[in-house]
């Protein structure tokens, strides 16, 4: 028995770091793995299937403290940050979050991130594996902006249709929030930032809390019978069913936002004005179309199609590659995402997948695979 596709980040040379919830993960029986340089729970004794369903049906709590939390302060932060990302940040109201990505000169994606207008500063969350790239990138390119990494904060996500019940029991302020709204408030005696967003396709919250209060707050939230802990394995199957990109798999330095079907994240003014790295390349793709597109792919059988599987057309010609794939516990079948030639990107197109030398039939499918359940 050997893993063909180990989730552990083999590139991480240093001993893995521990989040403020590490002791609690071990106590709860988390199966700890090295992920992007962090010692993180991939699952707990309940298992990925049960943890996934817990999130779709009730509420699941995830430790996402490995992600980088950054504060940007300066008089023209929105304007300056727009030089690095294609989102319209100048129109972003206070208390609102927006998904965006750092682009490179060739229109590729350096990382994806969430930017929140926190009033007197901008609050940014970047991927764990990319914080060592992103934070210098911000410091080097935003000369008049003070960049502060908040090592003193933990980040937990409470996700699922009952997440609002679990969190509002201790903080009624969250009830009126809608999807992508964020506020600074108090939770169980600590200052915190609560944002109504996540990475599962469900309603829910990401909650930034002081590291030294993280364990006690987490224990209290988990006392709620509606809420159970879940690991990175369920987080991955949940985001895949929801059609959400994983940086390093579905998007990277070589994939453009147009190819990745992320054009919705480049608002009208930025499309017209440009002014971010690679804007010329991206603008041309917007006008001319991209040669390949990121799509959902639904295998017709039971064999999961994983990252790296070749996609062929009916004649056996290679037209693309799977970038994320596995089993979708809610769908009850394998689900995948990948790039295919634009000629084959229409939903309903039949394609072939080559898995361990055998050809399997699959269909290009609209994303997401499940109905997203956001509080609008």
């Amino acid at each position: 028995m050997t893993d063909n596709t180990s989730p552990a980040d083999a590139a991480a040379k240093k001993p893995p770091q521990q989040t403020p919830l590490h002791r609690l993960h071990v106590e709860m029986g988390g199966k700890m793995v090295d992920f992007a340089g962090w010692h993180m729970p991939v699952q707990y004794p309940a298992g990925i299937m049960a943890e996934h369903r817990q999130c779709r049906e009730r509420a699941a709590l995830f430790d996402v403290s490995h992600m980088g939390q950054v504060e940007l302060r300066g008089s023209a932060t929105a304007h300056q940050l727009e030089a690095l990302v294609p989102a319209d940040l100048q129109s972003l109201p206070q208390g609102k979050a927006r998904y965006t990505f750092f682009t490179n000169a060739t229109g590729g994606i350096m990382d994806d991130l969430i930017v929140t207008n926190a009033g007197d500063h901008f609050y940014v969350v970047v991927n764990a594996s990319m914080r060592y790239q992103d934070i210098p990138h911000l410091r080097d390119n935003l000369p008049d902006v003070e960049v502060t990494e908040r090592h003193d904060l933990a980040l937990i996500a409470v996700q699922g249709p009952k997440a609002v019940d679990v969190v509002s029991r201790h903080c009624p302020d969250v009830v009126p929030l809608t999807f992508m709204q964020s506020l600074q408030t108090r939770l169980l005696g600590s200052d915190c930032r609560i944002s109504r967003l996540g990475y599962t396709g469900e309603d829910g919250f990401e909650i930034a809390i002081p590291a030294d209060a993280a364990e006690s707050i987490t224990r209290t939230l988990l006392e709620d019978e509606l809420c159970d802990v879940a690991g990175l394995g369920a987080r991955d199957s949940l985001r895949l069913e929801s059609g959400l990109c994983l940086y390093g798999n579905d998007i990277d330095q070589t994939t453009s936002p147009v190819e990745a079907s992320l054009l919705w994240a480049i608002q009208k003014r930025r499309r017209a004005e440009g002014g971010y790295p690679g804007a010329d390349v991206i603008s041309e793709q917007i006008n001319q179309g991209a040669t390949r597109k990121l799509v959902g792919i639904q295998p017709s059988g039971k064999v999961p199609a994983r990252n790296g599987v070749e996609v062929q057309d009916a004649t056996g010609a290679v037209i693309g590659k799977i970038t994320s794939g596995g089993f979708g516990p809610t769908v009850g079948a394998p689900v995948a995402m990948g790039y295919v030639a634009s000629s084959h990107c229409e939903a309903g197109t039949d394609v072939m997948l080559v898995i361990r030398g055998k050809t399997h039939v699959a269909t290009v499918t609209a994303l997401p695979f499940i109905t997203q359940n956001y509080k609008r």
Partner: protein, 129 residues
């Protein structure tokens, strides 16, 4: 640890049961299924195929990853557990009985004696941390 003492074991966490007719039945250990987590697909070997010891002959897939299953001995595959096509979770729920993977006829009947017994396997797993 749940490792029955009437079975033989490999370092790659397969178990081997010597049947009365000289054939062997192969599966993965309770420790292995626990490490893998919920299985969602099992690809069993083709019946009548000839395999060498340590060939990758089957694949078990969990939600997260695919893992190869190796032949503990050289020989020919004589049967595969068809029930796993619809119920891969049998491997999780009953790894030593209903969750068996395949049967084979060893090329050399004495090879099975070279494999670990349950005590050796338990020590091996413990030493692997």
């Amino acid at each position: 640890m749940n490792a029955p003492n009437d079975l033989k074991y490999t370092q790659s966490h397969e178990w081997v049961r010597l049947n009365d007719d000289g054939s062997v039945t192969v599966g993965i250990t309770d420790h292995a299924q626990e490490q893998l987590g919920d299985l969602v697909f099992v690809e069993t070997p083709e019946i009548d195929s000839e395999v060498e010891s340590e060939d990758a002959v089957a694949v078990v897939e969990s939600v997260k990853a695919a893992s190869d299953i190796y032949a503990p001995l050289g020989g020919s595959i004589t049967d595969a557990n068809g029930a796993l096509a619809d119920e891969p979770e049998l491997v999780n729920n009953d790894p030593y009985n209903a969750g068996w993977l395949y049967k084979m006829t060893p090329a050399n009947g004495t090879d099975v004696e070279q494999l670990m017994d349950s005590d050796d396997y338990e020590s091996y797993v413990t030493s692997q941390g």
